[in-house]
């Protein structure tokens, strides 16, 4: 036990003497949050949409009101009213507007009669993200007007109605927070634990402690524990700061904090152990540098932190099934945004636990105690 503590203390002391590493591990995820959060949000603001209301009846009025509410509230779109359908359509074609919504003159009448009321939506398909957003917004507005059976006819073809929560309180910026916390954990797991072993090996310092009675388990678990300590501290700090930055109001019960703690700790342990398996025998820091960029992309983007796992193609979905970061993101999203309790993220936690256990066993097994 004293030996294990000595390994941990040595590692923590060395980390403390390198404040630049600490500063970078904290700053980088936060900068990432601000850059990604704002660049994606920029695209989704003030998209110009032309509305041609040929009906001017009670029901069409309500649809337009709903759209105006979106324009005034989240500001996803701005609305330009027009009388002439042709002028509106050519405006979309020329690129002046992102979309044109045409409400036909028989709209209110059809709604009242319940005889297949429909509206026409002409989208500028060249910009995928904005056209998708507008479609969702318009569908939401039509639904929210209480006219449930209206179909939105898109110029490009048939449109499926979707259940969209138009007035959700979670904006994109906030939804990035779990991902940023996971990224902080990844960075921490990358720069502590096994990486210190690689550095010692590179500098030839490993020889000095391989000569002592320290066992494989002492060395591996000591480095993992010190890495865990540093990384969870950073991750919690990032979580709190990014919640403040993005304005997530979250008054958790103790049980939820336990769940958050469990997810963060297990994810950290799992990634630290995984790094031991992957770079446990590497002897040059440059290899770690290359691997870290690669692993970050491989694990982070398919984690659901930026795009929902649900919209991945099948093969990528099955990768998300084994990706520990996907479980971590899912659990944090559920707790932070849906107010889930410990029990409702237990499947995520169970997976992370299994992942960690397997990786740790393999790590100790794979570690070579000779030079």
């Amino acid at each position: 036990m004293t030996r294990l503590l000595a390994v941990i203390e040595r590692d923590l002391k060395k980390f403390r003497r390198n404040p630049v590493v600490l500063a970078m591990s904290v700053l980088m995820p936060l900068i990432y949050l601000i850059i990604i959060g704002n660049s994606f949000q920029g695209k989704l603001k003030a998209l110009p949409v032309v509305v041609v209301d040929q009906d001017t009846g009670p029901h069409s009025g309500r649809v337009v009101e709903n759209l105006q509410a979106v324009a005034a509230g989240p500001g996803t779109i701005t609305i330009i009213r027009m009388k002439d359908q042709q002028e509106a359509l050519s405006g979309v074609r020329e690129g002046s507007y992102k979309a044109a919504l045409i409400i036909p003159s028989d709209f209110s009448k059809n709604v009242a009669r319940k005889s297949r009321p429909s509206v026409g939506l002409f989208l500028d398909n060249t910009d995928g993200i904005s056209s998708e957003t507008i479609r969702i917004t318009v569908e939401g507005a039509v639904r929210a007007s209480g006219t449930e059976y209206v179909s939105v006819r898109e110029a490009a073809g048939e449109v499926r109605m979707r259940d969209v929560n138009l007035y959700s309180k979670v904006d994109y910026y906030q939804s990035l927070v779990p991902g940023v916390v996971i990224m902080a954990i990844f960075l921490g797991a990358m720069t502590t634990g096994a990486f210190n072993l690689v550095m010692d090996r590179f500098l030839g310092i490993d020889e000095s402690y391989l000569l002592t009675p320290l066992s494989k388990a002492h060395i591996v678990s000591g480095l993992i524990i010190s890495g865990l300590f540093i990384t969870t501290l950073i991750a919690f700090f990032i979580l709190i700061v990014s919640m403040l930055i993005t304005g997530i109001s979250f008054s958790a019960e103790p049980g939820q904090w336990v769940a958050i703690f469990a997810v963060i700790t297990l994810t950290t342990l799992g990634l630290l152990s995984m790094m031991f398996v992957i770079i446990g025998r590497v002897n040059h820091p440059r290899i770690v540098g290359i691997l870290s960029g690669f692993l970050n992309v491989i694990l982070f983007f398919p984690s659901g932190a930026i795009y929902p796992v649900a919209s991945f193609p099948g093969w990528l979905k099955s990768f998300a099934l084994v990706n520990p970061e996907a479980y971590a993101v899912d659990a944090l999203k559920s707790i932070l945004f849906k107010g889930a309790a410990l029990s409702s993220v237990s499947h995520d936690i169970a997976y992370l636990f299994m992942f960690t256990l397997i990786m740790m066993i393999v790590a100790i097994f794979a570690f070579k105690r000779t030079v």
Binding site: I205, S208, L210, P213, L214, T370, V371
Partner: protein, 335 residues
């Protein structure tokens, strides 16, 4: 127990691919002995120490160190030995004191004993003043002294030193020799040292083995080895042009025992060199050679080395670029 043997090596061989780094080596070291391995670059000194200190598994043969077989009970052997590897291995981000203290904890030493021992050793190696500075701020010599002290913190029965003064200036070297000798007076410890410095082997070791290309060439005390050489002085003549005629003539002289040639130098072993130097120079001139310089010295381990291996260890030394490269790089090749 094993009588009073500290190290027993028999038929030890280590190969890396097709290269035999240690070739069927056998020797014993008694308890309390200061034993040296003398050999040039690449002779296999570090490889041998790595096997004896459990870092490498031998290809064949075996070694018993302190208590047990190194391949069968490495963890028990590790408890009994202290090692100072060839490359610098202290932690740059820790202070000198922390380096020692953490090391003591790796051996499970209690706090009080660690403190006393660290204080004593830091004093011995003259680092008490700098104990709380980061090792990053140490000079090479200071770092080396710290590492030797660190290797002693847990009172090992056997201390292994792999080229302890490599890359250091003569003053630091003297300093290290000084406290190694002082240490030997105090603790009755066995020391196993490798070096390619003749003076170091001569100054410190009770017995040495000369190793070349992985093989032990000869073992004995420095006096014994020198005594086995024919003659008692060594003369080196530098001439403008070495000819077969010159060599033949020189070797025929009655007081000359042996000669060897390096570039434009001819080295001969002679009896009473001071009296015979003029005769040797005359003989060289008579064969038409121009003598540029002559030097004469008592025979040393250098001459022993040349006698047994046919080459000078100093040539090798000149090729040694950096003490860090010595042990840091080649071991990676095997993986």
């Amino acid at each position: 127990m094993q009588g009073n043997k500290a190290i027993e090596v028999s038929g030890l061989t280590k190969t890396f691919g097709t290269l035999t780094a240690v070739d069927n080596v056998s020797f014993d070291v008694s308890e309390g002995e200061f034993f040296g391995f003398l050999g040039p670059n690449g002779a296999g000194k570090t490889t041998l120490i790595r096997i004896l200190t459990t870092l490498l598994k031998p290809t064949s043969g075996g070694a018993v160190v302190a208590c047990c077989d190194v391949a069968r009970h490495p963890e028990r052997v590790r408890h009994e030995i202290g090692v100072v590897p060839q490359a610098m291995t202290s932690d740059l981000d820790l202070t000198g004191y922390e380096n020692m203290d953490i090391y003591g904890r790796f051996y499970g030493m209690p706090a009080k004993e660690r403190k006393e021992r660290t204080g004593y050793l830091l004093d011995l190696v003259g680092l008490t003043q700098r104990a709380n500075d980061l090792v990053a701020a140490y000079s090479g010599g200071m770092r080396r002294r710290l590492e030797i002290a660190r290797g002693l913190v847990h009172r090992p029965k056997i201390l292994f030193l792999d080229e302890p003064t490599i890359g250091l200036d003569p003053q630091s070297r003297q300093n290290i020799w000084g406290f190694l000798k002082k240490l030997m007076e105090g603790d009755r410890m066995t020391v196993f040292l490798t070096t390619h410095y003749m003076e170091e082997a001569e100054e410190l070791c009770g017995r040495i083995a000369i190793i070349d290309s992985g093989k032990i060439v000869v073992i004995g005390s420095p006096e014994e080895l020198k005594g086995r050489l024919p003659g008692n002085d060594s003369i080196v003549l530098t001439v403008d042009n070495i000819t077969q005629d010159l060599i033949a003539k020189v070797e025929k002289l009655p007081f000359v025992h042996k000669s060897s040639v390096e570039e434009n130098k001819i080295r001969v072993s002679v009896d009473s060199g001071a009296n015979n130097l003029p005769g040797l120079i005359d003989e060289a001139r008579s064969s038409g050679a121009k003598v540029l310089s002559a030097s004469i010295h008592e025979q040393s381990l250098e001459d022993v080395f040349i006698h047994y291996t046919g080459k000078s260890i100093r040539e090798e030394e000149a090729k040694k670029v950096s003490f860090l490269v010595g042990a840091g790089i080649p071991r990676k090749w095997g993986r």
